[in-house]
Symmetry: C2
Subunit: 381 residues, 2 copies
């Protein structure tokens, strides 16, 4: 691939504020090099012009690429083999439906050695409030660790709270993680996560569609969230208040046809109320473990959670249970008394007692029948 293409996309990534649907369509139609030349000259259709006129003189492509190389980073473009083409088909489909969360990025600024396409082959987004509780951070870290240890890339937004805990959990497993930023990848935002953002490129990637130096802004977080949703096969909302930005990522997840999951928490905690709203409305699936997250997002038949939860307790049913319950624990009793106590007709009692004896729930003694000492004591009914 020519440097010309990379330079053109570097220029275009600064000239329009994403998501710029008209520009993206224009680039698809005429190619990035010609599109860049026409944008520079202002010779573009009205819709493209309104997305590019404000910044079309801002041509810093060479300097941006040089600065990124200096940081050990690069610009990944759709013409590269490592472009995450498959995850982004959902964005194209959403764009075709006119959804705002559609529109694939024109290029991605990336720090880290891993290949973007490899890391997004099997990925799950883990997101949540900045104002998280100890419970939420614990769960996010556990999920981040467990997913990474299973070879699933943990995608998040590097924010304080849940995002940071998820990244840290993944790093603790030495496993893959992707931080998608709402600013240039050369900017440590939030400032307190500078160390975290420096560690991530060693075990994963820091990614942004914004060019170097661009500062975060509220609308950029919302725009960025669609990429977090697109990268993952599903999104887990660990903790979210009713107004958390994580609910925006959740909405993008559903709009992109990805699996939306929410972690239950105490109903006494407002930090979980956004999750509970998502569960109550049926938008999100409840997940309580890494295994359930993998089962919910994984390939059918490969990642099913072991069906441990419907294990039979091994108790007799129906009349056999009634007969068993009517047996005394200590002194023995007659089949006739068991019949009266259980309400089961005598002939059935006489047939059932030996069956209970076979499975070691009843024992026959000289004076009649009683429960076996191996018998199960009364459970939680």
């Amino acid at each position: 691939m020519s440097d010309e293409v990379r330079l053109a996309r570097a220029y275009l990534s600064r000239v329009a504020e994403p998501p710029a649907g008209a520009l993206a369509a224009f680039v698809s139609a005429v190619g990035p090099v010609r599109a860049a030349a026409l944008v520079r000259r202002g010779q573009v259709p009205g819709a493209v012009d309104s997305q590019t006129s404000a910044r079309r003189a801002e041509d810093r492509a060479e300097a941006d690429l040089a600065a990124m190389a200096e940081l050990g980073g690069r610009l990944v473009v759709p013409e590269d083999e490592e472009w995450p083409a498959w995850p982004f088909t959902a964005l194209d489909q959403a764009a075709a439906q006119g959804l705002r969360c559609g529109v694939a990025p024109l290029a991605l600024w990336v720090r880290g050695e891993a290949e973007l396409s490899t890391l997004t082959e099997r990925a799950v987004a883990v997101v949540g409030s900045r104002s998280s509780t100890g419970y939420g951070q614990h769960v996010a870290a556990e999920f981040g660790h467990g997913l990474a240890a299973s070879g699933v890339t943990v995608v998040s937004g590097a924010a304080y709270g849940i995002d940071g805990a998820a990244h840290r959990g993944a790093l603790a497993a030495g496993g893959p993680t992707i931080a998608v930023l709402a600013c240039g990848v050369d900017i440590a935002y939030p400032r307190g996560h500078q160390g975290l953002l420096e560690r991530i490129p060693h075990h994963g990637l820091v990614v942004s569609e914004y060019p170097p130096g661009l500062q975060p802004a509220r609308h950029r977080f919302l725009t960025r969230n669609r990429l977090i949703a697109a990268f993952g096969e599903g999104t887990v909302v660990v903790e979210a208040g009713r107004r958390s930005g994580a609910k925006n990522t959740a909405a993008s997840t559903s709009a992109l046809g990805r699996v939306l999951m929410a972690v239950p928490g105490p109903i006494t905690s407002s930090s979980s109320s956004g999750c509970h709203d998502l569960l109550r409305s049926g938008e999100a699936l409840a997940v309580s473990s890494v295994a359930e997250v993998i089962e919910s997002t994984g390939r059918l038949g490969v990642d099913l959670v072991e069906a441990t939860r419907n294990t039979e307790v091994g108790l007799p049913q129906g009349e056999a249970l009634r007969v068993f319950e009517a047996l005394p624990l200590d002194s023995a009793t007659s089949a006739e008394a068991v019949s009266v106590e259980s309400g089961v007709e005598l002939a059935r009692v006489r047939a059932l007692l030996p069956e209970l004896e076979l499975i070691e729930l009843a024992v026959r003694v000289d004076t009649g029948w009683k429960r076996s000492h191996e018998g199960i004591s009364r459970g939680d009914t």
Copy 2:
């Protein structure tokens, strides 16, 4: 109604172990007085005989009614006005479908002054594990209190843990509650709830289909659970481990076409794992407050939770948000600079700034534009 009918049903309630579908059908066909006489003599069809032969000599009807009157209780029969005919139609329908949780009781032994039909007009079951946590007991008590205070009868099983907390919460509101027992209503089971079971008849009812003196047994808890499910318009499972008996009540609730609800809790607590299974499978609806329980079970249009949760944050959207975000907080800047920073074309910026000024998000000063001090600071994105 004649004493004859009540005596007949008192006899029949002891002679067969519920649910006794064949006997119930026989009673419907020939009437309770004739059915009792024929059962006594053993002149019944085979299916009825197998349900009644073991105890048909146990005729204590008069003594049972006298003992119950002594306790201030009574036997409520389908021929009485206070019979909960409407809630029990679901049992009849389930019986018609051959479901084990079907079969309405032949009669109900009741302690308490309230009318059974009045108390079950508006009722919700609140159930859960005996091995509950402080969190679960807190929620059960809050729900019990809030439902009773709203005039909704709290139905439960008087067990330790969640059941007891729900009853106590309802009693604290002076409100109605029904305890459905798996033994005679003259028996204090569990023993530690003797005080609770003595208080309930003053503000509600203690109910059982088992005659006086009958001891609890595992199969009786399971049989009893269908009545808890039938009495409520819905069942809330507050806390339940994976093997809790509350899951049986949950299954009956669904089978009877009632609304099944589950309270989320910390995923780190095994006491909530049964609830989370019900949520994950889609069997139960998540409920986080009394208002949501009432909304889920209530009459349409009357009990809707106020739609507070989708309140708009009052922020501008789209390009207006981008322009707002591009405004500096302190020193002012030009419309041209705002255009470059936001990527919004200059003409739109010039139109949007006065709009932002009108809603007090932007302010025009001598040197250009800046954010208004009334402007909203960056939220949780």
